[in-house]
Amino acid sequence: MNKNLDLFLTFMKIGAFTFGGGYAMIPLIQKEVCENKKWLDEKDISDIVAISESTPGPIAINAATFVGYKTAGFSGACMATLGVVLPSFLIISLISLILTQFQSIRAVRYAFMGIRAAVLALILKALWMMFNQVKKKKKPFSYAIIGLSLVLTAFLEIDAVFVIIGCGLFGLIWSLLKRKEQSNGAD
């Protein structure tokens, strides 16, 4: 089969069968791309995770573009990305059409009242998982940034773009200063 078409179909399958996005997708990508198709090896998968974490945007898109590019260049990147997006796009478009019709039903309204409480629980869990990742490093600096970005976005309503740029710059400067300190200490 044509490699571009194969990439498209493989990523469409991945997009159609993973719930909860990003990280849930990684094992499936590994199975399809490494074991079944043998496009990439296992080491590439850990690269994909590292790269997706350190670049902006949805992890699934980052991963699809990266695998597509490595496998078949620019056209591969286009096909894999299109494939992973298409199922979501079609399903959501359909649902949002239906939803408008169903929202007036009382039972649906009640159901969503319950679901909102569950969404809060899911956010809390995501928060806990991300917090644990940061906690491993045990830096007081990290806790300061957590507090700062929380207050800035939740209470002062500062644009998240500025918070992201500011914290990234702060991390960069901090790490440069630290390195300088260490090299001075070594002298």
């Binding site: 699934a60 490595k70 997006v85 949002s96 809390l124 976005t153 992201i164 990234g168 710059l169």
Partner: protein
């Protein structure tokens, strides 16, 4: 004009969110409020629907908001907006990957970004909590209302389930059933 605004907003969201879907909620909420796309309740409902349908959370939310504000064309444009920054950045990085991976500057920037993402998810938690528990502001009568305590209890139970690694879809289904029961039972 609506379409251009959609495109710009989602380009911005796509270019500046790290750490996946939940970190995006704070930014989508700010944009949605600013542009008057959705209410706070609708946004929370979208998060739930995005969790219960396959595919990346961010793409799902972009398609939803786009469809709601600009029809099919809006959905295409919002989805394109959220995908494009990732796509372009990855294409650039894939070429220089070995250098990028070892770059100390990237490591330094990430040491600031990761905790910032935690803070932003925290902010999303606070705003969603406000919507769920205090839809009409905090007042004394709230604590004597049965619905407040039912949803607080539901939040506690679903939190335990989420930490027990129960699948999000099962948690959402359960809470929908409880919501329907409570709604009819209390005659809300």
């Amino acid at each position: 004009m609506v379409l251009i605004k959609l495109l710009l907003s989602f380009l911005k969201i796509g270019a500046f969110t790290f750490g996946g879907g939940y970190a995006m909620i704070a930014m989508i909420q700010a944009e949605a409020e600013h542009q008057g796309w959705l209410t706070q309740e609708e946004l929370v409902d979208f998060v739930a629907l995005s969790e219960s349908t396959p595919g990346p959370l961010a793409v799902n939310m972009a398609t939803f908001v786009g469809m709601r504000t600009g029809g099919v064309l809006g959905a295409i444009i919002a989805t394109l907006g959220i995908v494009l920054p990732s796509f372009i950045i990855i294409l650039i990085i894939a070429k220089f990957f070995e250098k990028y991976k070892k770059s100390k500057a990237v490591g330094g920037i990430m040491s600031g970004l990761k905790p910032a993402v935690v803070g932003m998810i925290g902010a999303a938690f606070i705003t969603v909590a406000r919507t769920v528990f205090f839809p009409s502001g905090v007042n004394v009568s709230l604590f004597s209302s049965a619905s407040f305590w039912i949803f607080l209890g539901l939040f506690a139970v679903t939190t335990v389930l989420a930490f027990q690694k129960v699948h999000p879809i099962k948690i959402i289904l359960l809470s929908a059933v409880v919501g329907i029961g409570a709604g009819y039972g209390l005659g809300l």
